[in-house]
């Protein structure tokens, strides 16, 4: 029997059980639903978890399997969705009051792909409102707690998605990453989080925050699972004009590799490791993990990413500018909550947006509007885009000397709920993840150990050149197989 208090079954192990008839999808989903029921009051990771929808889909999966008509080897496995990814006829609130009653009329491409594989959509997870945040505290509805310490944040903005996987409520989930929003919560919660190369996974059905930075990605219990989901989700989509051509790489195969570290050149960016705010306990885990990489045959190379210190500034100009444009559609007219306070059209825009958006969202829209406004566009937005080019060049240059880049995911472990009240302090916490979104490369975060003082998970990140998810997955899977044999399971 599966014990969700003390184990974290992977998608690949569950698929084996389902395909050898040792377990039905209904029984599997009932197990996860029961466990979720038991722990959700401590975690608050889900915004919606509809038992009927889930069990009906599970039943259909079991029938397909009985008839020998499985849609894929993963038919019947449950996966949760962040509440900014549309599922037809289900709510899609983006954790905002403005969209709290919105029902999506179509499936996101990633959802269509999962349904075509027979995957069971298992609930809608909590997030920072409109994906703006690094702690899940900006949800209009409730904060999610970190399963490792419920006084701490799970990270954000995909905090709910990371927490429910870490807590064993579901074997995998989807998140979205604009400045680190998959990788950082995965790091804080001790699970695996993957951001693909920009354009690898379709954004059709992902409520847009910053269109040149957003990507959907999987959050899982091991690297192989992330690779399996990447295979299912990735692909060219004519409905997304930023979607890159089909890859011919077999990602799932890459996720099974165990010996990729031998002779691998691993770049250590000195600006990251020498950073002032890097916590001693986090540094200690990193240092130990570097020894592990060396012992497995990897060649460590010191590299430089000279424009690291400008990444947060560049990001917060570009992302807020793009957000101000993307969120202009939320005006209370065609969808979303319309304020009854207004008596005329323009008043409706003001009042619906004023009442519907939370504080952080309003702040970012205002900042974004300012940096795009006449007289300021060149000084802020255009300049930030040029700095973005410099940051991209940093990575391109670094990859001439190494195969993958290795970094901490965050300067600290999960901080306390309510601890970071200054917006700028919150932004600076993204320093290790943010540059990747600007450059467009792929990155994966996975746990390397626990902090010696507070016992919280410490995440590490493998970064590969754009389009090279294969080498990133091979390196991460190989590291995962040799790192300390720790099972990353929080006691709830």
């Amino acid at each position: 029997m599966i014990d969700l208090k003390n184990s974290r079954p992977t998608i690949h192990s569950l698929a084996d059980l389902l395909n050898s008839d040792k377990l039905t999808s209904v029984a599997l989903c009932e197990l996860y639903l029961k466990h979720a029921e038991a722990v959700e009051s401590k975690i608050d990771g889900f915004l919606k978890l509809d038992k009927d929808i889930i069990l009906n889909a599970a039943k259909a999966s079991d029938e397909r399997r009985k008839a020998g008509k499985c849609l894929s080897p993963y038919d019947g496995v449950p996966v949760a969705c962040k509440d900014n990814i549309t599922v037809k006829d289900e709510s899609c609130s983006c954790a905002s009051k403005l969209l709290e009653n919105f029902i999506a009329p179509y499936d996101a491409t990633v959802v269509e792909r999962m349904k075509n594989s027979g995957i069971i959509l298992f609930g809608r997870t909590n997030m920072d409102e409109f994906a703006m945040g690094a702690s899940c505290e900006n949800s209009a509805f409730k904060p999610t707690k970190n399963p490792w310490n419920t006084n701490c944040v799970p990270g954000g903005s995909s905090g709910g998605s990371a927490a429910v996987v870490a807590a064993g409520e579901v074997p995998a989930s989807l998140g979205s990453d604009t400045g680190g929003s998959i990788r950082q919560p995965a790091g804080f919660c001790g699970v695996v989080g993957l951001k693909p190369t920009y354009g690898r996974i379709s954004r059709y059905g992902l409520v847009a925050f910053a269109s040149s930075l957003d990507q959907i990605g999987p959050i899982t219990n091991d690297v192989e699972d992330a690779a399996i989901l990447l295979d299912i989700l990735a692909g060219h989509d004519p409905k997304d004009s930023t979607s890159i051509p089909e890859s011919n790489q077999n990602f799932a195969e890459a996720g099974k590799k165990r010996d990729a570290l031998k002779g691998l050149r691993v770049g250590l960016p000195k600006e990251y490791f020498e950073m002032d705010g890097l916590d001693e306990g986090v540094k200690a885990v990193l240092t130990e993990s570097i020894e592990t990489l060396k012992a497995a045959g990897a060649e460590m190379v010191e590299i430089s990413l000279p424009h690291t210190e400008y990444a947060v500034a560049s990001y917060y100009v570009i992302a807020t500018a793009e957000a101000s444009a993307n969120l202009a559609r939320f005006d209370g007219i065609r969808y979303g909550n319309r304020s009854p306070e207004a008596t005329d059209l323009i008043g409706t825009y003001f009042e619906s947006r004023g009442a519907g958006f939370g504080e952080e969202v309003k702040r970012r829209i205002i900042l974004g509007t300012y940096v795009l406004s006449s007289g300021y566009y060149d000084a802020y937005y255009l300049r930030a885009q040029k700095v973005r080019t410099l940051i991209r060049q940093d990575f391109d240059n670094a990859f001439k000397q190494c195969d993958v880049i290795y970094t901490p995911v965050s300067p600290m472990t999960a901080f306390g709920i309510g601890e970071k009240s200054d917006p700028l302090q919150m932004y600076l916490a993204d320093i290790f993840t943010i540059a990747l979104n600007l450059a467009g490369n792929c990155g994966i975060s996975l746990p390397a150990g626990l902090h010696k003082d507070n016992g919280m998970p410490v995440g590490v990140q493998f970064i590969a050149p754009a389009y090279q998810e294969k080498i990133m997955l091979e390196a991460a899977a190989s590291f995962e197989s040799v790192r300390n044999k720790q099972e990353f399971i929080p006691q709830l």
Partner: protein
């Protein structure tokens, strides 16, 4: 870069967002400190550098001008806060003083 301070009230007008006085004051402080931090971008020499607008090297991705399946009217209206005859989205009066029909 700009030396004048942001006028949060004015920008909120541009962004069509109602802000109460408390929020306005709070945002004024927050955003000023963020902009001060962002000033560091002006340290860099970006002469001759092309701006990056997008992370993937794709341009002018077009499709053939052929009619395809789209959503039906009732799907499009399903989330509308107010409708007229199940055909149109009802909106408040466009001009002040106008009666809504």
């Amino acid at each position: 870069m700009a030396a004048e301070k942001i006028d949060v009230g004015h920008v909120a007008q541009l962004a069509r967002i109602t802000l109460d006085d408390d929020s306005k004051a709070r945002f004024q402080e927050n955003i000023e400190s963020i902009l001060e931090y962002v000033e560091k971008l002006s340290e860099l020499d970006v002469s001759g550098i092309e701006p990056t607008a997008h992370a993937a090297p794709l341009t002018n991705v077009l499709r053939d001008d052929v009619k395809k399946e789209s959503f039906s009217r009732d799907v499009m209206l399903s989330n509308a806060p107010a409708t007229v005859d199940d055909e149109l989205v009802a909106v408040p009066p466009v001009l002040p003083g106008e009666e809504s029909s």
